[in-house]
């Protein structure tokens, strides 16, 4: 039986008449990286806060590392978290902020320099937090989340404000943590990042879970696309008409025809185009990316 790091059932949160999260049900197996995606206001942060005991659910149940979310004191010492961006005391140094949280949590303060080194802040730990750039603040937030050597890491938009090199470093850090057995539950707007690092996915829309499962399963459920380019771009509308007549919808994006259809239909399309006097310069079957799938499922063009 797979051990679950997170398991929620019918989890709901209402503020008056407004439903922030509605009957969310999903599982996150231990030792995996699970992406948590959804448009702004879909309930991601509210769900994460409920998992951390910061917000009381109005309905449903949940378990973190086998303990009920109604008793966060039973599991939070094994959980690291960064919710809604980093938050620290501006007048204290980065290192002192970490020592403060280590003291509070009962963890060794000796590990602080090691954690600062791990997130690339080794030489700036003595500087006051208020002098940090957004990227440095984000790194400090991740270092704070790593203080308990967590079994579960909950990260809300951890790559906000990071440059491409920083994003890659965080991606590698998350992957290495997962390899060491840490479960990572991560939300991000960078869906390409989520696609690259996550084993499983929970997708929210308007407070409801619209997908929970393996990332690959989601992508495989999607209709494959044939990308076609012709020698003469003016032929593309005609190519779309030919595909439509054969029952395959399509559209033109950036001088490329995107036609819904399986890999096996590519030779047929090629033949139909040739018979119509269209010479294809490129014809490639592709699976939609997570981003395209996300837009299709959420109907959101964030």
């Amino acid at each position: 039986m797979i051990e679950l790091a997170i398991s929620v059932s019918d989890l709901s949160k209402k503020y008056g008449d407004r439903v922030a999260v509605s009957h969310a049900t999903f599982n996150v197996p231990q030792g995996t990286v699970c992406g948590f995606v959804g448009p702004n206001g879909s309930g991601k942060t509210t769900t994460m806060r409920m998992l951390l005991g910061l917000i009381s659910p109005t309905g449903g149940t949940g378990k973190i590392l086998g303990e009920p979310i109604s008793h966060p004191e039973r599991y939070l010492h094994r959980v690291g978290a960064m919710i809604e961006g980093p938050a620290f005391y501006p007048a204290l140094s980065g290192a002192e902020n970490l020592r403060l949280l280590a003291t509070l949590g009962g963890y060794s303060t000796d590990q602080v320099q090691g954690l600062l080194d791990r997130v690339g802040l080794g030489d700036r730990g003595g500087s006051k937090y208020k002098t940090y750039s957004l990227g440095m603040k984000q790194r400090l937030g991740i270092a704070a989340a790593l203080l308990p050597s967590p079994q579960l890491l909950v990260l809300d938009e951890p790559t906000n404000g990071l440059d491409p090199a920083g994003i890659q470093e965080i991606r590698e850090l998350i992957r290495s943590l997962a390899d060491e057995g840490t479960t990572v539950f991560i939300s991000s707007h960078l869906l390409s990042e989520i696609e690259m690092i996550s084993d499983s996915l929970v997708m929210l829309r308007k407070g409801e879970v619209i997908f929970a499962g393996m990332t690959q399963d989601l992508l495989l459920q999607q209709q494959p696309i044939l990308l076609a380019k012709s020698e003469n771009p003016l032929d593309l509308p005609k190519l779309i008409e030919i595909a439509a007549a054969a029952g395959h919808a399509g559209s033109i994006i950036d001088e490329t025809a995107h036609i819904l259809g399986p890999r096996e239909w590519a030779p047929v399309l090629n033949k139909l185009a040739f018979e119509a006097g269209i010479v294809l310069a490129q014809l490639a079957p592709v699976l939609p990316s997570l981003e395209e799938t996300f837009f299709e499922m959420t109907g959101d063009q964030e």
Binding site: G53, I55, E73, G85, A87, R99, T103, L104, G105, G106
Partner: protein, 263 residues
């Protein structure tokens, strides 16, 4: 709770806050004590609200602690500001969520925070005592105040009692600050309302409504610091303040325990 206590002290001990507060407390105490001795012959009074404390009173055994007890109100305001800002800033900085992830038992967090700030307040009272007594001895010659009674065991006992009363008074102010910080979740608002109430609103009400001073928390805290005064007896002041604080602490504890942390 001990972990909360030590983690809070990492904030309280930073030099700008700790040294800055101790300097402010020393300055306030020095001012009040100096005026007591330097204006001893002034017809406009040498103490709070134009009260005259005579040379004969200052020469008594408890005379050595009058400057110290007279500083209690201002020490209390400092405590109110510290307690309110240290509590409310957790909301404005968003750091409360970090604290609650590392210490999910909310009432333990609250108690640990109070304990750490209470020891900070204790340090301010100790500094104030040292400054006031030292200055009293230093200025006694210039003010022609005999100090023979100040070194007796009666004077030492009086000083100890005054120290305890001033500490209680300062903790009352601090607790009011903490309650306001938790209720209003903004340091500036909490401090503004607290100081405005204690310095302005209470004075206006006391001046316009007869005997109202017996029910005003600021006036009662001042009365406790003095061991009881014309306004209210010591036991009355302690009982009423205890009632106010119990209700206040109960309300904010329930709120803090149940309230969602959404910022």
């Amino acid at each position: 709770m001990i972990r909360v206590f030590f983690s809070e002290w990492r904030k309280l001990r930073r030099p700008t806050l700790f040294i800055g507060t101790m300097v402010a407390v020393s300055a306030v105490t020095a001012l009040v004590t100096s005026l007591l001795f330097l204006l001893i012959d002034s017809s406009r009074g040498n103490a709070r609200e134009g009260t005259v404390i005579s040379r004969a009173s200052l020469e008594l055994a408890h005379g050595v602690s009058i400057g110290f007890s007279s500083s209690a109100g201002l020490l209390g305001l400092v405590a109110l500001c510290i307690f309110a800002s240290q509590t409310a800033q957790e909301y404005t900085y968003g750091t409360l969520r970090n604290l609650l992830v590392r210490q999910p038992k909310r009432l333990t967090l609250l108690a640990g925070k109070f304990l750490s700030m209470a020891t900070f307040a204790l340090a301010t009272v100790v500094v104030s005592l040292i400054v006031s007594v030292s200055l009293a001895f230093a200025l006694s010659g210039k003010a022609k105040v005999a100090t023979a009674a100040w070194t007796t065991s009666e004077a030492r006992n009086g000083l100890l009692h005054t120290f305890i009363n001033v500490l209680i008074s300062v903790l009352v102010y601090g607790t009011i600050g903490m309650i306001l910080g938790l209720l209003l979740r903004s340091p500036i608002t909490a401090i503004s309302i607290g100081v405005a109430w204690l310095l302005i609103v209470e004075s206006i009400i006391s001046a316009t409504v007869k005997h109202s001073g017996k029910w005003m928390p600021g006036q009662l805290a001042q009365s406790v610091a003095s061991g009881g005064d014309f306004n209210a007896s010591y036991s009355h002041s302690i009982s009423v303040l205890l009632g106010y604080l119990l209700v206040g602490v109960l309300v904010v504890s329930v709120l803090f325990r149940r309230r969602d942390v959404s910022n």
